[in-house]
């Protein structure tokens, strides 16, 4: 391969690798929504998905506090979340934000936490606009606090892990046996194919 071609390839790769990170800043960013409820839900989701994006979260919380459409949001909890976020306490900030948009008096329904969680985690369009909760997170009745916990859990990725249960161990052993048996058969064929 000629020297020119080699240098061409190196230049192209360098341009691509250097150009792309800078390009990130070029991507456009749309306007923030106007209503506080959407802004707080977005901020809460951002914190749950990527706690490092505090800049974007702060931007949304400040916009929510200044919003002319504050319906459905307990703004003093949002302000408290902003203060807590400045102290880098992401967990408490999330808890406050979840409570800030919690439907008023949301208690555990008779059928258990599953449905309460589902309705709390449904997309914005699916749930009717709630009225602000009557009390701050710390003074809420136990039912509301429990709902906050459930909503917090529902807003986090569900990462299932290997528990080592009997069923899991049996399936794992089955998988290992299949791999072992398959490799044994492949190896035997390979040996038979050799002259």
């Amino acid at each position: 391969m000629g020297k020119t071609v080699r240098w061409g390839i190196v230049s192209l790769m360098t341009a691509v690798l250097l150009g792309l990170p800078a390009g990130g800043a070029l991507a456009h960013k749309g306007k923030l929504p106007e209503d506080a409820l959407t802004l707080v839900r977005q901020a809460s989701a951002l914190l749950a998905q990527n706690p490092g994006m505090t800049g974007e979260v702060r931007e949304r919380l400040l916009a929510a506090l200044k919003s002319k459409k504050p319906a459905g949001v307990h703004l003093d909890q949002v302000a408290e979340a902003l203060r807590v976020l400045d102290k880098k306490d992401v967990g408490t900030a999330r808890r406050l934000l979840v409570a800030a948009v919690m439907p008023a008096g949301m208690l555990m329904p008779p059928e258990g936490p599953g449905r309460a969680a589902s309705s709390a985690a449904a997309p914005p369009s699916a749930a009717p606009l709630p009225s602000p909760p009557p009390a701050v997170a710390s003074g809420q009745p136990p039912g509301v606090q429990l709902s906050v916990e459930v909503a917090m859990k529902m807003a986090e990725p569900l990462q299932v892990r290997f528990t080592g249960s009997k069923a899991e161990n049996a399936i794992l052993a089955g998988g290992l046996a299949l791999v072992g048996f398959g490799l044994f058969l492949l190896g035997r064929t390979r040996r038979a194919m050799q002259p």
């Binding site: 790769m13 390009g23 991507a27 929504p33 974007e56 589902s118 985690a121 997309p123 986090e156 569900l158």
Partner: protein, 341 residues
Amino acid sequence: MSTWNGVWQALDERLKLSDFTYPVPRHANTVAYSLGGISLIGFIVLIVSGILLAQYYNPVPQLANDSVRAITQVVHFARILRGIHYWAAQVVMVTVLLHMFRIFITGSFKKPREANWIIGVGLLAVTVGLFFTGTVLKWDQEGFEALEHNIAIGHLLGGLGHWFTPAFTEHVPLLVRLYIAHINILPGILLLLLAGHFWLIKKHGISARPGQPVAEMLPFTAHLKHLGKYALVFMGIVLILAVLRPPAVGPAPVEGIEVTKPPWPFLPLFAVENWVGVPGLFWASVILFLLLLLVPFVDRSPHAVWRRRPLFITLGFLLLVVLVGLGLLAWLTPGAVHVGG
């Protein structure tokens, strides 16, 4: 005559199964030449596990994420089933790409197999489409953002992209239509393309190893038997991964933010998108597939041995290095906002 032989003879008389004993070269049993067959095994696993998962999945947007969570947490063994589906998809994506890479390196796309290469590129496109729609179906933030990209590209295409936007019909949510694409349209196209792919392989035969004479032939049934052994290994690996590393599912999506990165096959395109926005994502995909389609028409020399095709092998490796480089870049650097936020 044993009972088994009797049954075989009766079946063969009616189904002509012995027609499958046509000769194939012995090297068809090597890993490199079995990658297409291993991908087929993966597709079969995906279809079976997909049919079972469909019994528990609800594609209505308000319920989709809940149903995936229920599959993961509530329904007995559905978590393992979802793990099998997820990991089989990952492995198939890898084997399809490796299969294509092997075809390129060994020049197996050359005359008279150009048409089969083109069908293969179509199969890759359908596989990517299945991977993409599968990502959307989870209906978590990653899936939702993938759908937003789908809509953005639909808008970019104007009238041609109308199907990809919610405006196509107000009565059926786009998620439901993508679900139909995932379980019906795309698998249908896949089966048609696979039928064409296999028919052409049968017509032209399995390509020779470049620079090496065909030493010995085997009946095709022996090759199928060998693929069965790969199937055991494939299924074992997928089961182990499904148990030890079950796939996660994120929370129900929130509109208006862009916070996730796409799954690994889309990372190189994501890097381009970070650079030039959604049009970059679309045009990079178009260019990539056009380049793949052009391969048999530009690399027309009769030589299949890689050493005698230095220019095209270099270009192929360069493309691979660029794609891997872009993928790593997108993986390691923060993503930009393209459609949300």
